[in-house]
C-alpha cells in the first residue's frame, strides 16, 4: 500500500523566505512533490497552532511550517515564537499518536529553492514510510 500512498502535506510558508524559495523552485523547474499544498503566510510567527491542528483534523498526513532563519525574520522574532509553539505542539501531538515526523518546522532562505525541494521530498518519503494519518482514514475523528 505504501508504494501507492501519496501523503498530503499542508505547508504554511512565510512569504519572505520559504514561499519565495518554493516559487523559485517552481520557476527553476525543480520538481517537488505535487502533494504539498501551500498556504502563504506573512511570517512563520503567524501560524497559529490552531491552523496546524485543523490541518491534521482535516486529514493532512503531515504539516510543514517554513520560516526565515533566526536573525532573518522580517518581523524580527516571529520565527522564534514559531519555534516555541512548534516545541509545544509537538509535545501535544506526540501524546495523541501524531509522530514528530508528521510535523516539521524548517528554516529556508528565500534564495534556497533547492532546500525547499529537498524538504518536500524528504518529508514525503518519511510520510510514505509512516503511512496515512489515522485521521485521513477515519474521517469521523473530528
Amino acid at each position: 500500500m505504501n508504494d501507492t500512498f501519496e501523503p498530503t502535506i499542508v505547508a504554511f510558508l512565510c512569504n519572505w523566505c520559504t514561499f519565495t524559495a518554493a516559487d523559485l523552485a517552481g520557476t527553476s523547474r525543480l520538481s517537488y512533490p505535487q502533494n504539498v499544498k501551500i498556504v502563504r503566510m506573512m511570517c512563520s510567527g503567524m501560524v497559529d497552532p490552531v491552523y496546524v491542528l485543523k490541518a491534521f483534523l482535516e486529514g493532512a498526513d503531515g504539516v510543514y511550517v517554513g520560516g526565515c532563519w533566526p536573525g532573518d525574520c522580517h518581523y524580527i522574532n516571529g520565527n522564534l515564537k514559531a519555534r516555541r509553539r512548534a516545541a509545544l505542539l509537538t509535545e501535544i501531538l506526540k501524546q495523541f499518536g501524531i509522530e514528530e515526523d508528521r510535523f516539521w518546522l524548517r528554516w529556508v532562505a528565500a534564495s534556497d529553492g533547492i532546500m525547499f525541494q529537498e524538504h518536500s521530498k524528504e518529508m514525503t518519503e518519511k510520510l510514505r514510510a509512516l503511512g496515512p494519518s489515522p485521521l485521513s482514514v477515519d474521517r469521523t475523528i473530528a
Binding site: 497552532p49 490552531v50 491542528l53 485543523k54 491534521f56 483534523l57 532563519w69 533566526p70 536573525g71 522574532n77 522564534l80 515564537k81 519555534r83 516555541r84 509553539r85 512548534a86 516545541a87 509545544l88 505542539l89 509537538t90 509535545e91 501535544i92 506526540k94 501524546q95 495523541f96 499518536g97 501524531i98 516539521w104 518546522l105 524548517r106 528554516w107 489515522p134 485521521l135 477515519d138 474521517r139 469521523t140 475523528i141 473530528a142
Partner: protein
C-alpha cells in the same frame, strides 16, 4: 525559619476562632476587607468579600468546596485595583493560578495579604451541598480527611479526583498560612510566612509560639501518597488516550458548552476564539464537510476545541479540577489536561505558580534555544 502562632480552637469553635482573627485584621486596619468562604442562604459556601466584622459569623474557610476558583475572583477584584488592602483566603491551586494571572497582567497581588489554607481536598459542589444540609462540619471533615481522601466509608462522597492527585497540600508564595496538617485536632497554627505576614502579626499583636512538631513529616506523607496516586493517573491517561481516536472517545459526550474553559482559572483569552465568528460557519460549509466525510457529528470541532485549549493553557495548568467540576457530562477533563500539562510543562521546565520571576513558556523566546525543533544549523 518562619514564625508560628497557635490559634486557640476550643470544641466546636473553629470558625469562631478564625472569625476572631479576621475581625482583628479588620479592626486593626491590617486590611479593609477579607475575601473568605462563607455560608450562603439558603445553602452552599461561596467566597464572600467582608468589610464589616459582623459579616464574619457565616465564614467557613476550611469548608471543603471551591465553587469557583478564587484566582478568577481575585482577578475581578484586582484587574483594575481597588487600591485598598485586602486579605484573601485561598488554597494552593488557587494561589498558583493567581500567580499565573499576575504574569498575564490579569490580576495583581500588590494590595493583597495572601492567606493560604492547608488543603485536604474539596468535594464537588453538589456533593458538598448535600453534606452541608446533613449537618457536616469542616471540623469533622478535617479530622476525617487526615488520610487524604475525605471519606470514612465507600458510600460517602470522596473529594475531587484532582485533589487526590495534587502534590501541593500546602500553599507556597503566600503571606500567611493557616496550618492544620500535622497539628492536633482542635489546633490551627498560623504561620507568618512573608515580611507582609510578619508585619500583620505585629500589627495584630499576636505572640510567636513553637512550630507544630509533626508538621513537616505529616506534609511529606500526604505529598507522597498523592504523588503516587498522581503518577498512576498520568500513566493510565498516557496509555489510555494515546491517539486522537481515543481522545475523541475520552471526550465523548462533549456538547461544546465551553464550561470547562470558563471554569479554568488560567484559560486567559478575554474572548475565546471558539465563540467568535471564526467558528460561526455558513451552512454550506457544514454540508460540504458532511459531503467530504459522508456524515458529520454536530456540534462540530469538539476535538479542535480541546486541543486548542491544550496549546493555549496546558503549560499553565495547576491541576485544580475546576474543568471536571464544570462539565455537565462528567468528562474527567482535569486528569487529561494535567497529563498533557505534565509533558508540555516538562518541555520548558516550567512549574505554574512556582515563582513570579519565571516567565511563562509562551511569553518568551530566545535565539539560542530549541535547536532540536528544526535540527538545522546554519
Amino acid at each position: 525559619m518562619t514564625a508560628y502562632s497557635k490559634l486557640s480552637v476550643t470544641e466546636g469553635s473553629l470558625n469562631e476562632s478564625l472569625a476572631a482573627l479576621f475581625k482583628s485584621m479588620l479592626e486593626k486596619n491590617v486590611v479593609d476587607a477579607v475575601l473568605v468562604p462563607a455560608h450562603q442562604r439558603p445553602k452552599g459556601v461561596m467566597q464572600t468579600l467582608i468589610t464589616e466584622p459582623g459579616g464574619l459569623v457565616q465564614i467557613d474557610p476550611f469548608a471543603p468546596v471551591v465553587p469557583v476558583s478564587t484566582a478568577t475572583l481575585v482577578s475581578k477584584l484586582t484587574n483594575v485595583p481597588s487600591g485598598r488592602p485586602l486579605a484573601v483566603v485561598m488554597r494552593s491551586c488557587e494561589v498558583r493560578a493567581l500567580l499565573e494571572l499576575v504574569k498575564l497582567k490579569q490580576a495583581s497581588v500588590e494590595d493583597l495579604v495572601l492567606i493560604g489554607i492547608d488543603c485536604l481536598g474539596r468535594y464537588e459542589n453538589a456533593d458538598y451541598m448535600k453534606l452541608e444540609q446533613n449537618g457536616s462540619t469542616s471540623k469533622a471533615f478535617l479530622e476525617a480527611a487526615r488520610d487524604g481522601m475525605g471519606a470514612k466509608s465507600a458510600d460517602e462522597p470522596h473529594v475531587a479526583t484532582a485533589c487526590k492527585i495534587c502534590e501541593y497540600p500546602v500553599s507556597d508564595n503566600v503571606d500567611i498560612r493557616l496550618c492544620v496538617i500535622g497539628c492536633e485536632p482542635n489546633e490551627v497554627f498560623i504561620e507568618w510566612v512573608s515580611d507582609k505576614g510578619e508585619e500583620a502579626r505585629k500589627a495584630l499583636g499576636i505572640d510567636v509560639q513553637e512550630a507544630p512538631s509533626g508538621r513537616k513529616e505529616a506534609v511529606e506523607k500526604i505529598k507522597k501518597t498523592r504523588i503516587a496516586e498522581r503518577d498512576k493517573v498520568f500513566a493510565d491517561i498516557h496509555e489510555r488516550v494515546n491517539s486522537l481516536e481515543k481522545l475523541r472517545d475520552y471526550l465523548a459526550g462533549c456538547v461544546n458548552c465551553y464550561n470547562c474553559r470558563v471554569a479554568c482559572p488560567v484559560c486567559y483569552c478575554k474572548e475565546c476564539v471558539f465563540v467568535t465568528d471564526t467558528f460561526r460557519h455558513p451552512g454550506d460549509r457544514y454540508v460540504s464537510w458532511a459531503d467530504k466525510r459522508g456524515s458529520l457529528k454536530m456540534p462540530t470541532e469538539s476535538l479542535l476545541y480541546h486541543l486548542t485549549r491544550m496549546t493555549h493553557m496546558s503549560t499553565l495548568c495547576v491541576g485544580c479540577g475546576q474543568c471536571t467540576s464544570a462539565c455537565p457530562n462528567n468528562i474527567e477533563l482535569s486528569q487529561l489536561f494535567r497529563a498533557v500539562a505534565q509533558k508540555t510543562q516538562a518541555r520548558f521546565d516550567y512549574h505554574p505558580g512556582r515563582s513570579l520571576d519565571e516567565p511563562q513558556p509562551l511569553a518568551v523566546f530566545y535565539a539560542e534555544e530549541l535547536v532540536e525543533v528544526t535540527g538545522q544549523v546554519k
